[in-house]
């Protein structure tokens, strides 16, 4: 698999310098190539980050597609609704996140504090949408476990529930009845604590654009994109499996786990293949979808013995 191995310490400390430099160049080369291919950023504030583990060496999807083709139904159900409406409507400051539930040190975190909670890393992850398209995104963030550890989950904490902002004054899409607002998503605690799971503040070297879930979101690269909740206002540790919004809306189509799985079809379409945004042109073949979106080596053990057709 095209993923750099994880490391408990910074890769430059354990890897021979020439090898590390070559790897870093490889990763940076992908970014540079994407930039050269017309993926100009829009001059949002820069967000400094060191290269993190687990990055794919696949070519990042051009910036204009990552930020121009978005599912963020709070701003409308068309792909160009969020980029059109979110920058004008969504206010990013002040912003705080309530972290509570089955924790000993639950409290409200200000966004500025969260930005400094742990060192920011750049991680180039594949993103697979449940609709059958995919992208490669250079996210910036740190493992969600950094935050969860600090609030000290109790023994009762088994799951994590994420809640997205739901303010009708800022989000015109809330008038639609497509799901029950606010948008809620959830992970098992071990999934949330997995080193791949990112609390994300930026992409392409800049702070998150409004339409991509600013000012902070989660990124869970082995699950369909809808699991990676955007514009978070609450992270709650709970004992029982939370009911995520899409499962509530269409339980026969969307489950709790939503692991990327080419062998388990969506109720209305096959999940065996996908189209890469901006790369797979009109006459390109669809590419095969990878089990766990290619992160099986890292996460398959989380689901050992589970029937993934039942727990879809």
């Amino acid at each position: 698999m095209l993923i750099r191995r994880p490391a408990a310490i910074f890769p430059s400390q354990i890897t021979a310098a020439p090898v590390y430099r070559r790897r870093a160049l490889l990763a940076a080369g992908g970014l540079a190539a994407a930039l050269a291919a017309g993926a100009q950023t829009r001059g949002a504030p820069k967000l400094a980050a060191r290269p993190g583990p687990y990055s794919t060496i696949e070519k990042p999807t051009p910036y204009q597609y990552v930020t121009g083709y978005c599912n963020f139904f709070e701003f409308g159900t068309e792909k160009d609704d969020p980029p059109r409406l979110a920058p004008k409507r969504l206010r990013l400051r002040p912003w705080s996140v309530v972290v509570d539930g089955e924790v000993r040190r639950g409290r409200t975190f200000d966004i500025e504090e969260l930005l400094k909670l742990a060192p920011l890393e750049e991680r180039v992850y594949r993103l697979r949408c449940v609709e059958g398209w995919s992208a490669v995104v250079p996210w910036i963030g740190y493992p969600l476990s950094e935050l969860i550890r600090r609030v000290e989950p109790t023994g009762q904490a088994k799951y994590v529930e994420f809640t997205t902002l739901a303010d009708p004054a800022q989000m015109p899409g809330l008038s639609s009845s497509v799901i029950q607002w606010p948008y809620r998503e959830g992970l098992r605690l071990d999934e949330a604590m997995h080193p791949l799971t990112l609390l994300c503040f930026g992409l392409y070297g800049e702070v998150l654009p409004h339409q991509n879930g600013a000012p902070l979101r989660v990124v869970v690269p082995w699950k369909y994109g809808f699991k990676s909740a955007k514009s978070l206002v609450r992270i709650r540790l709970v004992e029982r499996q939370p009911l995520n919004s899409w499962q509530q809306s269409a339980p026969h189509e969307y489950g709790f786990y939503a692991n990327v799985n080419p062998n388990v079809d969506h109720a209305r379409w096959s999940q065996a293949t996908e189209r890469r945004l901006g790369e797979d042109g009109l006459f390109a073949r669809r590419r095969p979808t990878l089990m766990f979106n290619g992160y099986g080596e890292e996460v398959a053990s989380l689901y050992a013995g589970m029937d993934l057709r039942k727990f879809f």
Partner: protein, 216 residues
């Protein structure tokens, strides 16, 4: 223009009920060119990066939308003729219907050939498992005999009565096309656009129903 004191001219008297042959040929040529614009637009966009992040999706959806538009245009011809008295409209209906078939065929080709590369297993399982594709596929299958019998020779061969019976299939086709669009949007509960087309089709079919009831 009507002179002083005369009754106001009927609204639709701007054009006569019968057009001179030369003018009719020009009107038809202009409408033919107009109906090709949606395809020309896709070709121009496709020459650059204009088809966006997901070109296959863009092209497929655009072609489907225009097939539906042409279907509405076709269904509008007869009520419009009754409303305006422009008898020459009837002679444009075949062209409109064939443009509907043209865009529907390209729509199906974009899905089956360009997107799925004629992967028959994938296509068949889509038709069986995805109700919105079942509806769209049925609409297209029903459209084929109408396109095949569209020329004057076929009208003669079938006889006007049989031909008309066969071509009444355009009504279930319209219903299936709306259903196809409606179910496609059902995943997002976003029925604004299909509702507009459903309303247009309902008005066009309703006009026929009213006329039929009035004639009884």
């Amino acid at each position: 223009m009507a002179g002083r004191g005369a009754a106001p001219a009927p609204l639709f008297a701007v054009l006569p009920a019968v057009l001179p042959a030369a003018l009719f040929a020009r009107v038809r040529a202009a409408l033919f060119a107009l109906a090709l614009l949606p395809l020309a637009r896709l070709v121009v966009l496709g020459a650059g990066p204009g088809l966006g992040a997901n070109p296959v999706e863009f092209v497929t959806r655009s072609l489907g939308t225009w097939a539906l538009v042409m279907l509405c245009v076709t269904l509008a011809v007869t009520p419009l003729r009754h409303l305006t008295g422009w008898a020459w409209l009837a002679r444009l209906r075949r062209m409109a219907g064939l443009f509907c078939f043209f865009y529907a065929s390209l729509h199906v080709a974009a899905y089956a050939v360009v997107d799925l590369r004629l992967d028959l297993h994938a296509i068949v399982s889509d038709i069986v498992k995805r109700p919105f594709i079942t509806a769209g596929f049925a609409a297209f299958v029903l459209l084929v005999p109408l396109a095949a019998t569209s020329n004057s020779a076929m009208v003669r061969r079938l006889g006007a009565r049989n031909w008309q019976r066969l071509h009444r299939f355009v009504y279930p086709i319209a219903a299936l096309a709306i259903l196809h669009f409606w179910w496609h949007k059902a995943g997002k509960n976003d029925f604004g656009e299909p509702a507009v087309y459903a309303l247009i089709v309902a008005v066009l079919l309703g006009a026929r129903l009213l006329r039929w009831l009035a004639a009884r």
